[in-house]
């Protein structure tokens, strides 16, 4: 059995099925890309996996364990980490404090009550802020960051959280070409140690990092395979025809 299994997953918002009988299995250590037009249900799929949205049908198995009914925080403790499409950090807190929250190996109140965050970052945090280039801004309040910097902060938080399964929703949105390259380098390093599901539009990026791609269309799995197979799949071409098709540039 694969590390993560979605079986006949379904969610309906007032009768509209955003995810409609989705089957997906992802092996441990795999880096999977999710593609699909706007509204195909990519973000909703990630919401279902991390528990933000409850499915109206189907099951989610993580490492053989049924987590369909588990609340978000328990899934996180089981190793599910999530980066949101709209970067989601704690705006009132400094970067240092944001990263301290992300360092959550012992998240129970009776344990955090006895922890007094020190000013000196842990070796892991120091390493991560260096990777994302925020080391000079540790005391900056997150509300003052630009969109791109917020994006980096959230990625840094996920690196610090160090989840076994990382769900990334459009991590390179708003990044320059160089920054996108840096992100892809980070992903290359995560590969193997972590299982990653990445929603991404930048085909250059996808080509660089992805082994297997799953294309969603109207809440279903339309196609799955390596990049060449996807690009040549007539079903994928057809699905994209309405909005211009896969354009080769």
């Amino acid at each position: 059995m694969a590390y993560l299994e979605l079986q006949g997953l379904e969610v309906s918002f007032d009768g509209f099925k955003a995810v409609n009988g989705l089957d997906l299995s992802i092996e441990r250590g795999e880096l999977r890309c999710l593609l699909g037009a706007n509204g195909a249900g990519k973000s909703t799929t990630l919401d279902l996996i991390c528990g933000r949205t409850q499915p109206t049908g189907g099951r989610i198995l993580l490492d053989g364990r049924d987590i369909t009914q588990d609340p978000e925080y328990r899934r996180s403790r089981l190793g599910v980490g999530r980066k949101f499409q709209v970067p989601s950090v704690f705006k009132e807190l400094s970067i240092r404090e944001n990263l301290e929250i992300a360092r959550s190996r012992h998240p129970e109140p009776w344990r955090t009550l006895c922890v007094f965050p020190s000013r000196r970052p842990s070796p892991r945090v120091a390493e991560v802020v260096e990777i994302v280039g925020l080391e000079d801004a540790l005391d900056t309040q997150a509300a003052h960051l630009s969109h791109g910097q917020t994006q980096w902060l959230e990625i840094a938080m996920l690196l610090v959280q160090d989840s076994a399964l990382i769900l990334m929703d459009e991590p390179t949105a708003g990044m320059t070409v160089q920054e996108t390259g840096k992100t892809s380098a980070i992903f290359q390093r995560l590969r193997g140690r972590h299982t990653l599901i990445v929603v991404e539009h930048d085909m250059g990026f996808v080509r660089e990092v992805a082994e297997t791609i799953t294309v969603l269309h109207q809440g279903r799995r339309l196609s799955e395979g390596p990049i060449q197979a996807i690009e040549n799949d007539p079903k994928v071409r057809e699905a994209y025809l309405g909005s211009g098709g896969i354009s080769h540039a």
Binding site: L93, P107, P109
Partner: protein
């Protein structure tokens, strides 16, 4: 490069390029400096009996300190955790009644029947002490009950509210309703609670051979010591990682859930810690006034606590405490004639603070301090080059 035509999300958001110059936030004051005002304040209130010997004044100050503790408790849940508890009087009242029950049982049964029953029970034709009054013969039990009962009630209410993800103004409404219900129950159950009169004619609390006459320095030290203890405890709590998680929750996102923090249990923790503190405040208040009354659980008192905390600064335990002491001190020094318009003045004060000083007096002090240190730094910077010039 190939791109799928699904870039709408990205284009929709204008992407501000990062300005390389960081907007640097205020340099963080070290934690020792943050403790300093607390230490100074605690030292000051503990030193008062060395200068004041008037028993009535000491009694009055002790009362202000009890109310200060109630405001600090509110700041802990409202300011630090974003939980606006309009029913702070529930914990306050429960603490007061727990202590009053003990002190009532200690009075010599002058008016009472053979069983040494409290007077109001005799008037209500009870012939034996109800079972839940029995353990209050013990002073230790009463002390424990004054803290734990409010905390437990809050934990239960919090569990229902926060599990259901109720937040913001709905919390305010629910806690206000809870207050009204508690008040009604205490007024209604006359035979057990003394009804509208409450529990009056209390004895003095006694522990370890010390008698806490509410007009004595001993009692003042009890109040000041309790306030100092809980201010320090609250300060440590807010500095802990749990306090940090609560500040993250206060921002209004559920993001912490995705790092494994069980948001509801954190909110419950803060809510019940705050209630336990107001229980202690209520306990001291009953001791200092020598009675407990359902007005302790009245809406006006709980709303006043909100005003005190707002005036002093809800984002600071110390600020809220000072706010309560200042407002009550002013009220206490007003003449009878003026007292009628006091509610009006208090209301106006509240509006002014909300509009002009969202962080209360504590925020004002903080800003002035920041401006002052900024000017000092500016002066130092001015001086440096001129010193160089002089040398040349």
């Amino acid at each position: 490069m190939t791109s799928l035509p699904d870039r709408h999300d990205r284009r929709a958001e204008p992407v501000p390029r990062p300005a390389i110059a960081w907007r640097v936030s205020m340099p963080r004051i070290t934690s020792a400096a943050q403790f300093l005002p607390y230490i100074l304040f605690c030292g000051a209130i503990l030193a008062v009996p060395s200068f004041v010997s008037d028993p009535f004044l000491l009694n009055k100050f002790a009362r202000y300190l009890a109310l200060g503790l109630a405001a600090a408790a509110l700041a802990l849940s409202w300011g630090y955790c974003g939980i606006l508890n309009l029913g702070q009087g529930v914990g306050f009242g429960l603490g007061a009644y727990a202590m009053a029950m003990h002190l009532k049982l200690k009075t010599s049964p002058v008016h009472t029947g053979s069983a040494g029953l409290p007077d109001f029970m005799v008037w209500n034709n009870l012939d034996h002490l109800p079972w839940f009054w029995q353990p209050f013969h013990s002073g230790l039990f009463a002390l424990a009950a004054a803290v734990l009962l409010p905390a437990l009630v809050a934990a239960l209410l919090g569990w229902f509210m926060f599990r259901a993800r109720i937040a913001g103004v709905y919390v305010a409404i629910i806690t206000l309703a809870m207050l009204a219900v508690t008040n009604l129950v205490f007024v209604d159950q006359q035979a057990y609670t003394g009804g509208l009169n409450g529990i009056t004619d209390l004895a003095w609390f006694e522990m370890g051979g010390v008698e806490f006459d509410p007009y004595s320095p001993a009692f003042y030290y009890l109040s000041a010591g309790s306030l100092a203890f809980f201010l320090m405890l609250g300060m440590v709590f807010t500095r802990s990682k749990a306090g940090l998680v609560l500040r993250a929750i206060r921002g209004g996102t559920d993001r912490v859930l995705f790092f494994g923090y069980d948001m509801a249990s954190y909110q419950c923790l803060a809510f019940s810690l705050s209630a336990g503190m107001s229980g202690v405040a209520g306990m001291l208040y009953a001791m200092v006034l020598e009675f407990a009354s359902p007005t302790f659980m009245g809406v006006p008192l709980s709303l006043s606590m909100v005003i005190w905390a707002a005036v002093g600064g809800r984002g600071s335990l110390l600020g809220a405490t000072v706010g309560a002491i200042l407002v009550n001190g002013t009220q206490g020094s007003l003449s009878e004639a003026f007292l009628n318009s006091w509610q009006l003045i208090l209301g106006a004060l509240f509006i002014l603070v909300v509009v002009f000083l969202p962080n209360g007096l504590a925020g004002l002090v903080h800003n002035l301090g920041a401006r002052l240190s900024g000017r000092l730094r500016g002066m130092a910077a001015d001086r440096a080059p001129s010193a160089l010039l002089n040398r040349r």
